[in-house]
């Protein structure tokens, strides 16, 4: 059988007008491009490596990144190019103290317990008066998607302004991409939300610095303490001295046992971190909802229908899971606000 006539245009690079070069020209051109990029942005390689998960890929990228970083540092071109192209960068410039100021926390001082540490419901006190919900900030890492859209879809038609500000690939234990201490302050400065929903921790588990400068690996009690202090700093920022209510969501247990271990410590640190303001910071525990007993599951029954609630990565919630969580969060919000 003859081959059919094809309209694949495979011959389009056979045009006589096209100039051909040797393979060595191709290699030289690609290496020239790489060299120029090293000269003007050699730091990026090491930074990219530091953002990668541990493994051979990261090791190779970091091994390449160290010398390229040194080259870029020794030539002032990088700074000039960075300044010249800064106007193109879509990121909001962050400033102010980062986590370092609070990283250690264990100063030995005994902090004063305030009334804000007590949720009225737990001590049989009168319920707090419901305030009008004007603006809600939904933030976090990739866990906060599509929860942010689900909440926005429900609240925007009811007149609530919803700011969706997820930061994919970020974590509280890593400041390579963004420093959440600075970011949370910037978010509050920009929007002054009177409620904040934060769902973060999927990327955490990075080593953090202790007060004495030592690097502490996950997931010892010392790591948990540093993490809890960072959570505390962020929660304090978001609660704006009591002007806002914060809903901090714990992580549902992930499928991977190594990640499950990290999420267990992250969840424990969240509980400890927000403890001084139980009246203003509510912890919404997702573990009993999605992974009772800390046991991972792909599916659960919702309204009588067995439903897949997790994404295939075994970390994130899928649309159905997120919609369910949004209803839980909205119920919590309705406890404190009217809209």
């Amino acid at each position: 059988m003859p081959a059919p006539r094809d309209d694949n245009l495979m011959e389009r690079f056979d045009e006589p007008a096209l100039r051909r070069f040797g393979a060595r020209h191709a290699i030289a051109a690609v290496f020239l491009a790489a060299l120029i990029l090293i000269l003007i942005d050699g730091h990026s390689v090491l930074k990219a490596g530091e953002e990668m998960n541990p493994g051979p890929g990261r090791t190779i990228v970091e091994a390449v990144g160290r010398p390229t970083s040194l080259i870029a540092e020794s030539i002032p071109l990088a700074g000039v190019v960075h300044d010249a192209t800064a106007f193109l960068n879509p990121d909001v410039a962050l400033s102010g103290p980062g986590f370092d100021a609070a990283a250690g926390g264990a100063t030995g001082e005994v902090g004063e317990v305030t009334p804000a540490a007590f949720n009225p419901a737990t001590i049989g006190g009168p319920p707090q008066a419901k305030r009008r919900l004007g603006e809600l900030l939904v933030t976090g890492d990739s866990m906060s998607e599509p929860l942010d859209s689900d909440l926005a879809g429900d609240l925007i038609p009811k007149g609530v302004r919803v700011v969706q500000d997820p930061h994919i690939g970020t974590g509280i234990s890593t400041t390579f991409i963004v420093n959440w201490a600075q970011l949370s302050a910037a978010q509050v400065r920009a929007d002054h939300p009177n409620a904040v929903v934060i769902f973060i921790g999927a990327n955490d588990g990075f080593p953090m610095n202790a007060p004495d400068g030592r690097s502490v690996s996950c997931c010892s009690a010392q790591w948990a303490a540093i993490y809890a202090n960072r959570v505390r700093q962020m929660a304090n920022t978001y609660r704006q001295g009591g002007a806002a209510h914060v809903y901090w969501l714990t992580l549902p247990t992930p499928r991977d046992p190594a990640r499950a271990r990290i999420s267990r410590v992250v969840n424990a640190a969240i509980a400890v971190g927000v403890a001084p303001w139980a009246a203003q910071v509510s912890v919404i525990n997702t573990v009993p909802i999605f992974t009772p007993g800390g046991v991972y599951r792909d599916a659960m029954t919702i309204d009588g229908v067995p439903t897949i609630v997790r994404q295939s990565d075994g970390i994130h919630l899928n649309d159905a899971g997120s919609e369910l969580l949004a209803q839980v969060v909205l119920a919590a919000i309705r406890h404190n606000f009217k809209y």
Binding site: D6, A26, S312
Partner: protein
């Protein structure tokens, strides 16, 4: 591994140099490029490599078995077995969760439990592309268009990293002949390769990701928050975004292959210039259209059996094209919508005489409307989006840069081809050193527009 990343920027120069160094020695080059391609693929998850190797092995076994028998019944059985295995892999990894969830919902409504375990299964990147290529290989051998390749040639063809994860879908008869003898190191289309890579980066990083972040993603995430002007712009914006995203990837894939000495088929030809659905599919994702036409539509009977059978074949083909894109009702309906468009066009034939500009205008808007279905996260999201088109209001997301990005993307496709080709030829004739420096500048400028969260994955990686 994504093309526009630091990891790939380290990987590619090394592979390029190694490839040309070993090119005169095919017995060394072929294992080298296969290993490099598996490293590229394994960066997304090394377990996926096992599946790729499995697909390679059973399709090669089928091709060899085909060559050993002249019995047509046996040959058909061999092809059917290979296709069932290929589609079986696709069904398990891509469609299992979707169908089991649908069945579970149906069973729950009649008081029964889920018939199969509700599991989420990780989708191996590019599985839809390489299984189709494997199927096309076995079918080409069955039809005697090609002889079975050696195992290593077939492994190179299937895993060749420039086209591995998102195409273009390369027919075996287009690629395997290029492996017959080493590529000539004196005649490399360096200019075309480098300029295509630069163009792909601009399309993906500068235009597609910008439109996604500033317009499309926010509006599709919460359509209820926006009114008609923003909704309308988001629909046009997505048309521009998906073209830049997918054709940007294809440009990079073709450019990288050219630098390695290989030619991949054309995948796009100004699709928004189309003046009908049929014309659109001859310009959009052309390598998929060819595969579907040759290996599905024509075997079903094509247009040989009268009008009704042709319509049936068109509908079956397009519904499956929709399903190929993803396991969701939105994709099924998108395919059905295009099927209806093709059937209507076929039925009307030449009876309706419309001026060219009007045919273009109607086609363009019908295609854009179809993209809303394609982009919507669910049918509910689609209805919310479409219903907001009727809510008047002031634009909030219209900015000069957003409008310019859409206008440039669509406008360039409407310009006469010849002046653009001349400009392209002029650029491609520049000395490689100039083009290499130019590529660095493009990468640096494009990189400066990337947010701290990095380059989002290509849309077609999900398929």
């Amino acid at each position: 591994m994504l093309f526009p990343t630091i990891q790939f920027a380290i990987f590619f120069p090394l592979v390029l140099a190694g490839s040309w160094l070993l090119m005169p020695h095919p017995r060394a080059w072929k294992p080298f490029i296969t290993a490099a391609s598996y490293v590229f693929y394994g960066a997304a998850g090394w377990t996926f490599c096992i599946l790729l190797a499995g697909v390679t092995l059973w399709n090669q076994l089928a091709a060899v078995a085909l060559a050993r028998t002249e019995n047509e019944r046996r040959r058909s059985l061999i092809v059917a077995t290979a296709i069932v295995l290929d589609l079986g892999a696709l069904a398990v990894f891509k469609y299992y969760s979707f169908f089991v969830q649908q069945w579970a919902s149906v069973f729950a409504h009649v008081g029964l439990g889920a018939p199969l375990p509700l599991l989420t299964i990780a989708l191996p990147v590019g599985i839809s592309f390489y299984t189709f290529q494997a199927i096309s290989y076995v079918i080409d051998v069955k039809r005697r268009h090609i002889a079975p390749a050696s195992l290593i040639d077939f492994a190179v063809y299937l895993s060749f990293f420039p086209h591995l994860v998102a195409g273009p879908i390369v027919r075996s008869r287009e690629f395997l002949p290029q492996l017959a003898k080493p590529r000539d190191p004196r005649h490399v289309a360096v200019g075309s390769g480098l300029s295509l890579i630069a163009l792909g980066i601009i399309k993906k990083v500068v235009i597609s990701d910008f439109l996604a972040a500033k317009l499309v993603d926010p509006v599709f995430a919460v359509p209820q928050a926006y009114k008609a002007p923003d909704i309308l712009l988001a629909a046009y914006g997505y048309a521009a975004q998906i073209y830049c995203d997918f054709s940007g990837y294809t440009d990079m894939a073709i450019g990288l292959a050219l630098l390695l000495g290989f030619v991949l088929p054309q995948n796009f030809r100004s699709p928004y210039r189309a003046t009908g659905f049929r014309d659109f599919w001859r310009r959009w994702h052309m390598s998929l259209s060819r595969f579907i036409r040759d290996d599905l539509f024509i075997p079903l009977g094509g247009s040989r059996g009268g009008a009704l059978l042709t319509y049936r074949n068109l509908m079956i083909t397009m519904v499956l094209v929709g399903l190929w894109h993803g396991a969701a009702w939105t994709f099924v309906l998108w395919g059905t919508y295009h099927g209806i468009g093709l059937v209507a066009e076929h039925a009307i034939g030449g009876r309706l005489k419309l001026p060219g500009w009007l045919r273009w205008l109607v086609t363009f808007h019908l295609v854009v409307f179809g993209w809303i279905l394609f982009r919507a996260t669910s049918l509910q999201n689609f209805w919310e989006f479409v219903s907001r088109l009727g809510v008047p209001g002031v634009p909030t997301l219209w900015s000069a840069t957003v409008l310019a990005a859409i206008a440039v993307t669509i406008g360039f496709q409407l310009l006469p081809a010849l002046p653009l080709q001349r400009l392209q030829f002029r650029i491609e004739r520049l000395h490689p050193a100039v083009l290499g420096a130019g590529l660095a500048v493009v990468i640096a400028l494009a990189g400066a527009t990337v947010s701290s969260q990095g380059v989002p994955p290509f849309i077609y990686f999900r398929f």
